[in-house]
């Protein structure tokens, strides 16, 4: 009997932990929101992360930092970033910016560069939920 308890107790604890991970932390496991989600959900004053690709041709430097558009292939959002951009920051690259959304533009003060796994220059649409691409190629 003791051998059963020895297995059962850690197994029950592990299952509880996994359930907690699965249900309570699902939203915090999503590291960033897409422009489509940002426009649809309108988070108000709360701080969040926005991720997507920098739209080529929209990048300009401002007195405080840089401004550019970020897209997920469906919607594009203007980002006003305060501070120096990251080393690898450029048009076409994936970025995750942190800040607030006022309905027209996203005001960010923290920028992370999200490198993709393909090791070549990215083209076409970008969907973080389809990391291996969907069935319609390039759609």
């Amino acid at each position: 009997m003791r051998a059963y308890w020895r297995f059962l107790v850690p197994a029950v604890i592990t299952v509880i932990v996994l359930i907690l991970l699965g249900f309570n932390l699902t939203s915090s496991l999503v590291y960033f929101n897409t422009p489509t989600e940002l426009i649809a959900e309108d988070p108000g004053d709360s701080r969040l992360r926005l991720g997507g690709q920098v739209v080529p041709g929209t990048l300009t430097t401002t007195t405080e930092g840089v401004t550019f558009e970020v897209t997920d292939g469906r919607q594009a959002v203007r980002v006003l970033h305060t501070g120096a951009p990251q080393q690898l920051f450029q048009e076409g690259i994936g970025v995750v910016v942190e800040g607030t959304w006022d309905g027209q533009a996203f005001h960010s003060d923290t920028m992370l560069v999200k490198h993709d796994e393909t090791y070549r220059s990215e083209d076409g649409s970008y969907d973080p939920d389809q990391p291996y691409g969907d069935d319609q190629d390039g759609a």
Partner: protein, 247 residues
């Protein structure tokens, strides 16, 4: 005699050859168009992470093997592999941080992949700590086998975290459903050579570590059997005066 020396040296020969090939490819392979020279960190980071999966997978096999057969040799496989796995998990995290600072802009962030990798590291550090909670080798093997099996649930969780949740860490370039996403063949070969070299190092370390565990177990058995007539049931510990003893 010479053939014996040669057979004993096989791990070192294999390590030297595979590391030399991997190093040569890592040096001659071109820089990535976006990352530049930073891409070379991948040639050691990805193999280290691969070894973590492999090592903890072997710990799972050793744990199941012990529970099924009750032979301590399976427990020694599980223990040796967990030790090597913890080391290479730590190495993968450290190398990843060195890559992340110039690429992402931060050393660390709490996305699903990084968080779960840290959890996996600490679970197997806990596994090694658990191995010291029992002196009796069969009690130790039983407890360790339970954690060795439960902990293995983290292997798919860590690997697929980049697919199941949106993370800052990029999805796998090599182990992905539609084949490697690396276009330059030299970059791909350098990465594969790194994986092979690390795997050879793992096999060599395992052979050495299992042997060391076996010798340590045998020494302990000899010491115990030698102690038995002296400190057996017929001999009681001397009582100390002063009433301070806790019995």
């Amino acid at each position: 005699m010479p053939s014996e020396i040669r057979s004993r040296n096989w791990p070192w020969m294999a390590i030297v050859v595979s590391v030399a090939v991997a190093l040569a490819l890592a040096i001659v392979s071109p820089a990535d168009t976006v990352q530049g020279e930073l891409v070379r960190i991948m040639y050691v980071h990805v193999p280290a992470a691969w070894l973590a999966y492999l090592a903890f997978g072997v710990t799972l096999v050793g744990s199941v093997g012990y529970l099924v057969t009750r032979r301590l040799s399976w427990d020694r496989v599980a223990a040796s592999s967990a030790e090597i796995g913890v080391y290479f998990t730590g190495l993968a995290i450290g190398l990843g941080m060195i890559w992340a600072k110039p690429t992402w802009g931060v050393w660390w962030t709490w996305d699903a992949r990084l968080t779960l990798t840290a959890v996996m590291f600490f679970v197997y550090v806990g596994y090694l700590a658990l191995r010291n909670t029992a002196d009796e080798s069969r009690v130790r093997a039983g407890r360790s086998a339970v954690l060795g099996i439960l902990g293995a649930a983290l292997i798919p969780l860590v690997h697929f975290s980049v697919v199941w949740w949106r993370t800052l860490h990029q999805p796998a370039s090599l182990l992905r459903p539609d084949g490697p996403a690396i276009q330059d063949p030299l970059i791909l070969w350098a990465l594969l050579a790194g994986v092979v070299a690390f795997t050879v190092i793992y096999v060599a370390l395992m052979a050495k570590r299992i042997e060391l565990h076996r010798v340590a177990d045998r020494i302990r058995d000899v010491e115990r059997s030698a102690n038995r007539p002296v400190a057996g049931a017929s001999v009681t510990a001397p009582e100390l005066g002063g009433g301070l003893g806790d019995g």
